[in-house]
């Protein structure tokens, strides 16, 4: 053995390139071989001679090369595999699963030895070697196969032919990845120069214009070509799935088949490589938890064999992978149970979530460390890893599931990482890039909308966008505050802009910050959405992403930097990072949960919704209301700064909400309403401009989001922030000396 090693070491020393070539070539031979074995097994009764030949050749080549390099272990193993294959080729044995198993084990060992050729002698091949030899001897003597000579021509028809033979050797060149990376980088630089040149070019000069145009074209083509050199077919990683599925199926005692399409679809090498683990994870989950046992399946009226389909394809400049199983699906009620059990979410939070959001809880880290109690729980194993990887790559991730019908996981990934489309926005004169893949839409509010669509609560700025509430974050505030937002920060920010808005709207003078319009970008982050308010939106541009300098890498709000066409450096915003930074301003759900101190507050309550000023929506529980009186504005009498109206022959004090609360003044029209509350010894009524409706609702009052004296709290009713008035307190505020008079 020492002797052999010496010989090899010698070679390695003298001709490392030869050794490297051997390894690369052998690996190539082994790459597709697993698939081929499995195909042989599948069609074992009609052996595909061509495929057999191919496999045989591959093992033979490995053996030959290993022999030449005096890699003794490898030669011996390959030899016995070759012999077995020879028997198969001559029709002496068929590709029974016992043979295929042993051959696959052999391939594994060969691959293992190739990974570390220098120590290949340390790999123990005896087990597999003996198994193969045993099979060889047994196969020769055992009476199990009396060889039915297959009619090869007929068989060939329904057998999938191996994809175009690996490639015509002469036309390909091996290039180190380093070189490609460098090329890629330089192409990126060229794109920058091109962008700069396009801005600088003298448009009036036809000659220079045409040169610029050609430079533009050539650059784009060059970039595309170079990107293509880094593209590799996804088959490289999904090719091993049939085997994984086969083995898992055997181990779990299930019958599972995998159907793969789109193996030839290509994507960037870096992305491809980081996908191996997530995809394997998903496949394992499908086998382990998705697909039921054969008995269960038959009972459910499904075919006995479970089916996993994996479909990879290009779509709209993105790479999509769909993995679908026809198993039992994910039961939402089990997720709910699990999540509350583990206190990952409260019941109140869950109540607010859509089915889709609940389904995505399986990716919560911690969810996956499930106990064995439920089958569903196991589905979360490692799903957080999948999600993280995909998001790090700038992709998105979605689960769709129907109980009893199966589960589908969809991954959408960029084709390449280095160059991406981005939206350029400007804030305080600085440019920022927002990766297009997190963009949902751009919104510009004009004139009145700037005021009417925005709502404020303590610590929250909310926009009502087509009936949905969207939490808002101001880029200017994020940039100005290096510390993560605390709840107080949110309160401070919301108050600042609310006051500013009040002045702009009602005051004779506008504040210095007054804008005719409000621009914001709706962004998607971590299953949540928010609006980022910026000074202006400039347009989209293809940008070359550069990582942040190491000294400032820890700043969470940036994903990198890029050079713009005008030569300025622009920072690329990290959408998730900003969401984390300003978390307190985003989490509508969390604030709702805060108020839910006692979980029993789920009873339906009828509340009267009304308006006093034009903007705010108020509410008051119906049981507290004695009556609502329709009144004429002209019937109100003024005494000093107090207003009275005669109702039921009693002089009733008219209470305007804007006198007690910081809200917009009552919108006066001739016909108004007066809410007469119960439980007051002295007559008093709230002046109301519009009655909206009576709503039956499970009110969860949020006390913290807008604590103002005179309010019980706030709640979202009909997608609008609604202020619940505290009538007792209001009366105390406007008529302090009455306080003794309140009947209890």
């Amino acid at each position: 053995m020492n002797d052999v090693n010496e010989k090899f070491d010698d070679l390695l020393l003298n001709d490392p390139e030869l050794v490297a070539n051997f390894i690369a070539e052998s690996k190539e031979h082994l790459e597709s071989i697993e698939d081929d074995f499995l195909n042989l097994e599948k069609h074992k009764d009609h052996p595909d001679q061509e495929l057999l030949n191919k496999v045989f050749r591959a093992i033979h080549s490995v053996k030959g090369a290993a022999g030449f390099l005096s890699l003794d272990n490898m030669t011996r193993l390959a030899h016995v595999m070759e012999t077995l294959l020879a028997d198969m080729r001559s029709g002496k044995i068929l590709a029974e699963s016992q043979y295929v198993d042993a051959l696959l084990a052999g391939v594994d060992l060969l691959a293992l030895m190739l990974d570390d050729v220098a120590h290949h002698q340390d790999v123990d091949i005896t087990g597999v070697h003996d198994r193969l030899t045993g099979l060889l001897e047994g196969g020769a003597t055992a009476p199990d196969r009396s060889v039915p000579k297959p009619p090869p021509a007929a068989a060939a028809k329904d057998i999938r032919l191996p994809e175009k033979a690996v490639a015509d050797r002469g036309d390909t060149v091996r290039i180190p990845v380093d070189t490609l990376d460098k090329l890629m980088l330089q192409a990126g630089e060229l794109v920058l120069v091109r962008n700069q040149h396009l801005l600088a070019v003298d448009e009036s000069d036809p000659a220079s214009r045409s040169i610029a145009h050609r430079l533009d074209l050539v650059t784009a083509e060059l970039q595309e070509t170079i990107i293509r050199t880094r593209m590799q077919p996804i088959g490289r990683i999904i090719g091993k799935f049939p085997r994984i599925v086969r083995e898992l199926g055997k181990r779990l005692g299930k019958q599972i088949r995998i159907d793969i399409s789109g193996s030839e679809a290509e994507l960037d090498k870096t992305i491809l490589e980081s996908l191996t683990d997530p995809l394997t994870h998903i496949i394992r989950n499908c086998c382990g938890h998705g697909i039921e046992s054969s008995a269960e399946r038959v009972q459910a009226g499904k075919p006995e064999t479970g089916l996993i389909t994996l479909n990879a394809f290009h779509e709209a400049g993105r790479f999509s992978i769909e993995i679908r199983d026809d198993g039992r699906g994910i039961d939402l009620s089990l997720i709910r149970k699990k999540v509350t059990q583990k206190s990952l979410k409260t019941a109140a939070e869950l109540e607010q979530m859509s089915d889709k959001e609940i389904l995505h809880l399986v990716v919560l880290p911690g969810f996956s460390t499930a106990d064995e109690a439920s089958q569903v729980s196991g589905r979360g194993v490692g799903m957080d890893v999948v999600k993280n990887t995909v998001e790090k790559l700038g992709g998105s991730f979605e689960i769709v599931s129907a109980v009893g019908e199966g589960t589908a996981v969809n991954l959408r990934l960029p084709l390449t990482l280095a160059i991406m489309p981005a939206l350029i926005v400007s804030q305080n004169g600085n440019l920022f890039a927002i990766p297009q893949n997190s963009l949902v839409e751009l919104v510009c509010l004009y004139d009145e909308d700037v005021w009417t669509k925005m709502e404020y609560a303590d610590g929250l700025e909310i926009c009502r966008l087509r009936g949905r509430l969207l939490p808002m974050v101001r880029l200017s505030e994020v940039l100005a505050r290096p510390m993560r937002f605390s709840r107080e920060t949110g309160v401070e920010v919301a108050k600042k802009y609310q006051q500013q808005e009040m002045v702009d709207k009602t005051g004779p003078e506008k504040t210095a910050e007054f804008r005719e319009s409000l621009n914001f970008v709706v962004l998607r982050a971590d299953n949540s959405r928010y609006g980022l308010i910026v000074d202006s939106i400039l347009g989209t541009e293809e940008i070359v992403v550069k990582p942040m300098h190491r000294a400032v890498k820890s700043l969470g709000i940036y994903a990198g930097a890029t050079i713009m066409g005008n030569g300025k450096v622009a920072l690329i915003l990290d959408i998730e990072g900003i969401a984390r930074h300003a978390e307190t301003m985003l989490d509508i759900a969390v604030t709702a949960e805060d108020s839910d101190k006692d979980a029993a507050g789920q009873d339906l309550q009828s509340v009267l919704l009304f308006r006093s000023g034009p903007k705010e929506q108020f509410a008051m529980p119906v049981p507290l209301i004695r009556r609502i009186e329709k009144i004429a504005m002209s019937a109100i009498e003024r005494i000093g700064d107090r207003e009275y109206i005669t109702v039921d022959e009693k002089s009733t004090r008219v209470l305007r909400l804007d006198h007690a609360l910081k809200v917009t003044p009552v919108a006066e029209h001739e016909s108004m309403h007066l809410i007469l509350p119960r439980l007051f010894s002295r007559p008093v009524g709230i002046l109301v401009s519009d009655l909206i409706d009576i709503e039956e609702t499970a009110v969860e009052l949020n006390i913290e989001s807008y604590p103002e004296d005179g309010l019980l709290g706030t709640a979202i009713i009909r997608n609008t922030m609604t202020l619940f008035v505290d009538i007792n307190r209001l009366v105390e505020i406007v008529e302090p000396e009455w306080s003794k008079g309140i009947s209890s």
Partner: protein
Amino acid sequence: MIKETQTPIRQFCTFRINGRLYGIDIQDVKEVCPEAGFTPIFHAPQAVKGYMNIRGWIYLLLDLRRILGFEEKAVEGAGRAILFKPGVGENFGIRVDTIADIETVDQAQIENRRKQDRELPEGAERRGIDIALGICKMEKELLVILNPRNLLGILASLKVRPE
């Protein structure tokens, strides 16, 4: 601390901050360029001026004035940027007030900083920052020799820009 070079002669690229004379070994300097526009990096330590585009490469520009502990002048005027070679650290440079001459100094003229503790530049003394390599007595004044290799490292020790 000071590298022993074969020749006892060393050359320093000198510059002024707050009127004081500082120098950096010319072998560490890649280039000196006018301080063109830079992009501020919000949330970064105060001593970080921002990003500069130098012919398609992004450089991190540090404010040496801040690092040395001098107050920021209200009106600074256009300064100069000294960019360092890759060996000094990942693409970065410093902003200085004005560039002075290239000084050729005999190694023997340089006194190790340790012996001359009292002669430290104010800022470095105040912060206890290990960026001054030594002091060199010139005809009219003292030249403080800085070690750019420690600059990036001390950024972390400087607190985030206060609000």
